[in-house]
Amino acid sequence: MIQGTTIYQRRIVIGAVFCAAAFALVGVRLVDVTLFKPHSESIDPTGQPVIARGDIFDRNGELLARDLPVVDLYARPHTLEDKEGAARDLARVTGAEYARLIDGFNNTKHPYVLVARRLSPDVQDNVMHLGLPGLEFEPAAKRFYPDGRATAQLLGVTDPDGKGVSGLEQGLEPRLSESGAPVQLSVDMRVQYILASEVEASRQMFHAKKAGGIVMDVRTGEIIGMVSLPDFDPNFRKFTGDDTDHNIMAADRYELGSVFKVLSFALALQDHTTRPDEVFAIGNGYRIGKFTIHEAEHMPATLTARDVLAHSSNIGTAQIALRSGPVRQAAFLGSLGLLNPLHSELPEFARPLYPDHWGIIETATIGFGHGIAVEPLAYVSAAASVVNGGRRIIPTFLKTSADRRGAQVISPETSAELRGLLRYVVTNGTGRKADIAGYDVGGKTGSAEKPGKHGYQSHVLVTSFFATFPIEDPRYVVFVLLDEPHGTKETGGIALAGSTAAPLAGRVISRIAPLLGVAQKPVTVARENT
């Protein structure tokens, strides 16, 4: 049959075969494209910038930081007929500096001049209404913080290129910029706001130079709130007044004074070097070599160990600390992380300062919080570790539900005994103004004289209060600090922690405890209601 076909017929058959093959190829390709080819979602046909930096949320899903679409404005000077007029109009609408614009427009070396960055949509509209030729809008992103100053020191900011340069924006930079996935913090915005507003109110009331506060979960180590004042507006990059981006709770170190007695008593109770009912001679001064330790105010001739803590006796605490000795004291503070920098998600930290020669006098003074300077966050971590059942807890700014308590630093029994003493401080001692209705709070005051050029300054104080609640099984600690507070008429001119920091901590706890779901004590409620 093949032999009978003409050359034309063979050509037609060959052509038909080619056609069939071509159609088959197209068919296979169609099936491949329509059925088997995965859809590519990364293609952005609009040319809009891909916003890579992740959002930041608080523990309840409230937005704390987000990149918003904005534009950068460029001009091509050679297309502008009236360069002076264009520079004047653009400066007026965008807020750019006129002199810089006119210099750029008259400089023929550069084909493009950056007029302004991060223009909002309304400013972009105003620029469009100018009707100027040669303007180009480059899509960009601007980091926005809905809660403004309340979270400024904690979150930090990004630079104009969207890179974190302070706070958690810097500390979480790899997570936020590389994956673009949202990050959920441990911070509760409600607590953060309450802490910020109360600390600011106290700072103004006592005319303190700086102030701060921390709320921490003692089991998970989550930081529920952290405030450092003065702060700044992260949405408005220019500082005004006493604005600063310096977070005193993480980047500064303080000699915290008597709040350190919590740690001295924890060590003494753990090592059984004292008992709460042991009586100590106080007197008018306690001499160690050529140094004499004094009390800040008059004390009875003798005090039990319980009252040494409650009334914050330096002399009594020095005697108790000396029983532990320098080696044991240094080892204990080291086990609480107070002799090394504290590393958390926050990039800011301060190396602790402590004496090279840790002798007898140093042991006595460190016992009541002088001679050692630590960052407040490190102190909170250490103090939380001795009230949470005695297990080391390291703070985190990321939400977690895991019990992150680590190594045992004191026994659970010692921790419980210490909590009893802290409650006694609030009911019978210097912390009475932190005793609030409905909740059993335990705590300790601290009033430290600040060092100056010529030694410690007797009327320049750092006052603080460490509180934990509910005291029988603590879940949270609150630490507040006032740097150089001044007494008021209401406090009788007294600026000590019992009159300044303790009531502040009490107000904070009374507002945040219901929000955090801490059960009230019915007996205490009844007492207040009748």
């Binding site: 017929q9 952005d44 915005m189 019992g498 219901p514």
Partner: protein
Amino acid sequence: MVRILNTVCVALMGLSILALYHVSEQTRVASVELSRVSRQIVQEHSTISVLQTEWERVAGPARIQELAASHLGLTGTPAVQMSSFDSLPRRGDDAPLNNSPIAQASAQAAEPPAGRSGL
């Protein structure tokens, strides 16, 4: 026979060309539409993102407290006036506080007693 086959092939080719053109045109139109919808989705996402951020700003605790104080006259509530459903007595349970009478159902939280300040 060959002529018929030729005619059918040419006809098929013509129909195929028309069909291919039709499919190609439909694809182009769909592609344009896809671009438009994608652009619209991006814009909508952008708008939603801005509106969410704006909502967070206007519904922030600072502003709510300010509005509540200025328009509703609300002030800070003492912790003792707040409770949870879990703390309410169930039917048949003893009344709270061991059936003791409550002088005031709600009270301003008392100021703590003035204490001596100290270190």
